[in-house]
Each structure stands twice: as structure tokens, then as C-alpha cells.
């Protein structure tokens, strides 16, 4: 996972609530077996509307996305995070996020910032009125600020997600340091738990 301390730049004001991952990356693109190259398909159907916000050249290359509550709800497809990442976005600010989407962001290395509605609305209006506005997301100090102004807000973040973001740590590697504890757990795990050992055998063909 890449290391992230601050994200500075413009934000794309996507002023919608309950944006589900089917909108972020429609199903027809989930057939790809690669992990990259999803950016050109992000918001595929919404982007057919020339007025859709990601088509606005004033926000081209913005590293931050602003959205309303429950962003990334629905399907667990991590392809949604890969698509947003591939658009060049590294931080998303919204009043709340879908649980699986937020976890996926933390694994890929995107910062999800939760701010109250009023603060998100302020940033949304500001970006709509003054697209050149520079927003600073600082992971270490857990703050969002508007460059050149006094506006600054604190946000909360899971301390371990923060640690991993600041150090670029992949958590498979971190967990593998505890292989002994996993082995110990397995040594006294109930023998009554099912397993799929017999799932290999007796392949049953359809008539």
C-alpha cells in the first residue's frame, strides 16, 4: 500500500447522497482480471451526461472528491475504489460512507474523511463557486483545511488505519507477523467446525 500523509488540491463536488458502487463502476467492467485501468469507466453511465461533474474541465485532475452521505453503499466490489483511485483521487470527504467501501479504501490507500453535513455543504458550495480552491487533507494532524483561509476542521480516523496510511503498510504483511498466534488459536479450535475437505470428492455431474 502506498504511503499518504497529506493530500492537497482541488475537490470534485459530487453533490449526491447514497452513491452506490454500481454507479461508481458498473458490472460490465467487473469482468476484468487486472487491478488497474478502471478510471476510464468510473461513473460510466452518469458520465454520459455532459453536465455530470466529472466531465467539468475545471476539476480535471482533482485529488479529492466531495460527496454526500452513505457514499459507496451497496456491492462490496473493490473495483469501485480502484476506479476512483485510477481517476487520480486520493481522499474522499463525505458525511458517511458505506462500511465495506470505507474498509476497501483503507486497504488500497485512499483516505476517507467523515465531516458533519454542514462542513461538507460548506466545502461543496465553495468548490462549486470557486473551483480553484485548494483543500488540504492532513492525515497526521487529522485536519481538513481550505488553503489561504482560517477554515479548518478536525476529523476522526481509526488509529490503526492512520498508522498504516502514514507508513504505507499492507496489513497482510502485518498479520503474518502473528502467524504463531493464529497457529495457537487453530490448535484449540473446535473439531466440530465444518470443513470442505470432502468438497473435492464426488463431483456430481448435472444430468
Amino acid at each position: 500500500m502506498r504511503q499518504i500523509s497529506t493530500v492537497t488540491g482541488q475537490a470534485i463536488p459530487l453533490n449526491r447522497a447514497d452513491v452506490d458502487t454500481d454507479q461508481i463502476i458498473p458490472k460490465q467492467f467487473l469482468k476484468r482480471i487486472e487491478r488497474s485501468g478502471f478510471g476510464e469507466f468510473a461513473f460510466f453511465d452518469w458520465r454520459k451526461d455532459p453536465d455530470f461533474i466529472t466531465n467539468d474541465p475545471r476539476y480535471k485532475g482533482a485529488p479529492i472528491m466531495l460527496a454526500q452521505q452513505n457514499f459507496g453503499c451497496g456491492s462490496s466490489r473493490e473495483h469501485a475504489v480502484w476506479a476512483i483511485e485510477d481517476m487520480g483521487v486520493t481522499a474522499i470527504i463525505a458525511p458517511s460512507f458505506g462500511d465495506i467501501f470505507r474498509t476497501n479504501c483503507s486497504k488500497v490507500g485512499l483516505v476517507t474523511v467523515e465531516l458533519p453535513h454542514d462542513d461538507v455543504n460548506y466545502l461543496m458550495s465553495r468548490m462549486e463557486e470557486l473551483p480553484s480552491t485548494q483543500i488540504v487533507v492532513d492525515v497526521a494532524s487529522q485536519t481538513v483545511s481550505v488553503a489561504g483561509t482560517d477554515w479548518k476542521r478536525q476529523f476522526s480516523i481509526d488509529p490503526f488505519v492512520k498508522y498504516r496510511l502514514l507508513n504505507g503498510l499492507d496489513d497482510v504483511g502485518l498479520t503474518m507477523q502473528h502467524t504463531d498466534l493464529i497457529g495457537e488459536f487453530e490448535s484449540h479450535r473446535s473439531a466440530l467446525k465444518p470443513n470442505t475437505s470432502n468438497a473435492f470428492a464426488n463431483t456430481v455431474k448435472t444430468p
Binding site: 460490465q28 466490489r77 465495506i100 497482510v172 473446535s190 467446525k193
Partner: protein, 470 residues
């Protein structure tokens, strides 16, 4: 954390799977079962390969193909080369990493959340994950089951564990009894309508109350399945005699002496008297009528006796804006009675309502009738075994005689990754779980309903109240 305070079933399962707890870090939980399918696993296996890692416990893993498979003659080549490639990649990965795979010509193939319960592999007290948000289905057995992303799939493959940040608990209690024609699908749509699509964020739900006690395992699976549509990653029902009766004798459930030991343990999996939840929600079973969604989120639903609501009646400013957008997409006018909405397509199937009980309920409505001439309807059984059972009972004949297409098992038109999709503008009565824009095909319009309501709509050509039939 003391061990003698009253606990919820959620806390009990969590604590029993705790591999490591450390201040300032998420708890590391052991995963009892990892279900794998073709769409969300390729990149995870690739990453294992790049990092020279193995699958730690292949025998706690089971793979199948469901999202991409065609539901027509499978002896023909897959019409979509990308789908064919993705399925082939899963085959190669399962072979290389030693993971059992129930492949396309295996009778046991089917939707991942249907096949595990029907073999008795899903059991009370387990932790179950899958790279699919509807993994919550398995909560019906009193298991802690939730959907994960591809990075987490890789994590579980490599370590058989998953770090989990603290969760909140929610009690959703539905008291009393359900009226005639009111199904588990209507219960869960009513719950989501009440809590909203984000009401469950950060929570695990326990479904409590008489309505769930009286519900079949199939019904509990329908309810738990749609938990994610209310924002909660997992939802469960404490196991009881209904659970044990369902599991007994299934080929992957404990047998003989082990069965008695397992049941004794399963009986301990209830929420203790005096345990508290972070959030409480309560509904009366008698208040719930058959539901139909009118919008593009699963919370946008009303009873069949109602009309499409006016956006200005929505609670918050946001709900109003969302309702206006939804009505425009759905091409509906506020105030139109739901029963006057005509449909073009009917989809009966999915991990929500593709089980044998669902097909029986729909067939009972269909029997002796004909699908309306304006409607194209299809039934997609949830698994090879569901299909076999339905055919043994003659349900396929009932459906085919009425004009339904009878297909091979898979996810099909729930998400339309295979050729089963809506055309732009088509309106569908669907027993699936998501009415998102374009979910069943770009420009398609989805109304979520129970199998009975879908069957009745197929015959009438528009929505009707199943309570008026017979």
C-alpha cells in the same frame, strides 16, 4: 472486558473468534469459512502469487462460479469472452492453490450464498466471509457473516483471519405475526424503509421477536441477505429448533455423536437476558403489508395498497432530492397507485429469493394461469440442487406452462453480468435485492418484490395485491 456481564450473540461469536486483541489495533478474528467466486477473487490470487504466499487453509474455503455464468445451454461456449476468461482464471487459481471448486457442470454449483446453507456447511456460531456484500445471508443460522473486498479476500486466503474494527450492535425486533400474503421479503423491505439505507452503518443487527421465531430458514435467509441494503454489514438470527431441524442430515453438517455436541453448543448462542444493544428498532408484524419499491434505493418502498409517494412528503431535504431523482429515473409520477404500474419483465431468482421455498410460493400463484402477453418472465433457480428439487416437484412444468422461461442456476439478472439484462426503459418486477440505477441493465427500472408478488404481477401485467388472490 469482563466475562460475566450479559452479552449479545454478536459479542459471543466475536469473542470466540478472537485471535489477537491489542490496544489501538483492530481485533484479529479467525474466519471459519471463506466462500469464493469468480468476480472478486482473481486479483487476490494474483497478489498471493506475486508475494509467494499460499492459501493457509484451503479446506476452510469453497469456490463456485455464479455471477458470470450463462443461464441457457451451457454446453455452448460462453457468449462473452471476458466472462469465459474470468471463470477459467478461477479454475486455474483453485487448481494451483488447492481450493475446492464446484464448477459449472457440477450439480452443486449455484449462487454462493445458496449452496453453502443447502449442504449444511453454514452453521451457527461461525464466522463466514465472501467477496460479496450479500454474505450477510448466512446470518440466518446465527453466524457472523459479512461481505469483504478483494484486499480482504487476499488477507483471508493468506492468514484465515481478518482484522476488524469495533462494531456497534442493533436490535431489530419485529413483534406479533404477519398477515396473509406478507412474506420475509416484505419484512426486510419494511425494516430498510424504517432505518434508511444508511441506518445500519457501523452496526451488526440481531433480528429478534416472534416474527423471526416463526419464520422458516429460507425466510430468515431472505431477511439477513438484505441487511446490507440497510447499511449494516451483517445481520443474524439466533439459532433455535427451526435451525437445527434444517441442518440435521445435510451432508456437511455434523453427524452422529458430533451432532449432539454441536447442538449443545449452538443452544448457547443466544443473547443473554439483560444484554444491551447500541441501537434499538421495533416494528409490529401486523403493520407490514406486501411491499413494492418505487425508487432507486431499497428504502424507497411502499405497501401495495399505497400510491407512489410525493417527494415533498419525504422527511429531509436530502430525501426529497433523492426521491425526485428516483422518480425521474423510474419514469413515475407521484400519486399514481402502485397497482396501476405496468411491467415488462419479471425476474424470479437471486440469493435473496432463489431458494426452493421461494419457487414453491411463486408456483402456487402461477399454477393454472398464463403470463400476460405484454410480459417476459423468467425463473432462475439459485442452485443446481434447487433446480433438481423444483423439477422433481413439477414446478418447472407449472412455470413453463404459464409462459415463464426456466433457466440454469446463477446470479443472472440480479446484477446482469451475464447476458440476462433489462433493455433501456424496461420495467421489471424482481425478487432480487437492489433497485439501483442500471443494476439490471443500463436504463432498466427495477421494482423489488416478494416471489408471490412477482408471480402475481407476471400474470396481471401490473402490480396486484397478492392478498386479493383466491
Amino acid at each position: 472486558m469482563t466475562n460475566d456481564r450479559p452479552k449479545t450473540i454478536i459479542e459471543k461469536i466475536w469473542e470466540e473468534h478472537l485471535v489477537r486483541a491489542h490496544e489501538g489495533e483492530p481485533d484479529l478474528l479467525y474466519i471459519d469459512l471463506h466462500l469464493v467466486h469468480e468476480v472478486t477473487s482473481a486479483q487476490a490470487f494474483e497478489s498471493l502469487r506475486m508475494n509467494d504466499r499460499k492459501v493457509r487453509r484451503p479446506e476452510l474455503t469453497l469456490a463456485t462460479v455464479d455471477h458470470n455464468v450463462p443461464t441457457i445451454d451451457r454446453t455452448l461456449p460462453n457468449p462473452d469472452p471476458l466472462s469465459a476468461q474470468q471463470i477459467e482464471v478461477l479454475r486455474e487459481n483453485c487448481k494451483e492453490f488447492g481450493v475446492p471448486l464446484w464448477d459449472i457442470f457440477d450439480l452443486r454449483q449455484g449462487i454462493v450464498h445458496i449452496i453453502s446453507p443447502e449442504h449444511g456447511l453454514t452453521q451457527p456460531g461461525m464466522t463466514i466471509v465472501c467477496g460479496d456484500s450479500h454474505t450477510s445471508t448466512h446470518g440466518a443460522f446465527g453466524a457472523l457473516a459479512f461481505g469483504i473486498g478483494t484486499s480482504e479476500v487476499e488477507h483471508v486466503l493468506a492468514t484465515q483471519t481478518l482484522p476488524q474494527a469495533p462494531i456497534k450492535t442493533m436490535s431489530v425486533e419485529v413483534t406479533g405475526t404477519l398477515g396473509r400474503g406478507v412474506t420475509p421479503k416484505d419484512v426486510v423491505l419494511a425494516v430498510i424503509r424504517k432505518i434508511g439505507v444508511d441506518g445500519g452503518i457501523g452496526h451488526v443487527i440481531e433480528y429478534r421477536g416472534q416474527v423471526f421465531r416463526d419464520m422458516s430458514m429460507e425466510g430468515r435467509m431472505t431477511v439477513c441477505n438484505m441487511t446490507i441494503e440497510g447499511g449494516a454489514r451483517a445481520g443474524l438470527v439466533a439459532p433455535d429448533e427451526t435451525t437445527f431441524a434444517y441442518l440435521k442430515g445435510r451432508d456437511m453438517a455434523p453427524q452422529g455423536e458430533d451432532w449432539d455436541k454441536a447442538v449443545a453448543y449452538w443452544k448457547s448462542l443466544t443473547t443473554d437476558e439483560g444484554a444491551t444493544f447500541d441501537t434499538y428498532v421495533e416494528l409490529k408484524g401486523e403493520d407490514i403489508e406486501p411491499h413494492v419499491t418505487w425508487g432507486t434505493t431499497p428504502a424507497q418502498s411502499v405497501g401495495i395498497s399505497q400510491a407512489v409517494p410525493k417527494p415533498e412528503d419525504a422527511g429531509t431535504e436530502w430525501a426529497q432530492e433523492t426521491a425526485e431523482r428516483s422518480l425521474k429515473y423510474m419514469d413515475l409520477q407521484a400519486g399514481v397507485p402502485i397497482q396501476r404500474i405496468s411491467i415488462d419483465r419479471v425476474f424470479l431468482g437471486s440469493c435473496t429469493n432463489g431458494r426452493i421455498e421461494d419457487l414453491r410460493a411463486a408456483a402456487a400463484i402461477v399454477k393454472g394461469h398464463t403470463v400476460a402477453s405484454t410480459v417476459k418472465a423468467m425463473v432462475v433457480p439459485g442452485s443446481g440442487l434447487v433446480k433438481q428439487q423444483a423439477e422433481a416437484e413439477g414446478l418447472d412444468v407449472v412455470f413453463k406452462d404459464a409462459g415463464f422461461e426456466w433457466r440454469e442456476p446463477g446470479c443472472s439478472m440480479c446484477l446482469g453480468m451475464n447476458p440476462d439484462i433489462l433493455l433501456p426503459g424496461e420495467r421489471c418486477a424482481s425478487t432480487s435485492n437492489r433497485n439501483f440505477e442500471g443494476r439490471q441493465g443500463a436504463g432498466g427500472r427495477t421494482h423489488l418484490v416478494s416471489p408471490e408478488m412477482a408471480a402475481a404481477a407476471a400474470i396481471a401485467g401490473h402490480f396486484v395485491d397478492v392478498r386479493d388472490i383466491k
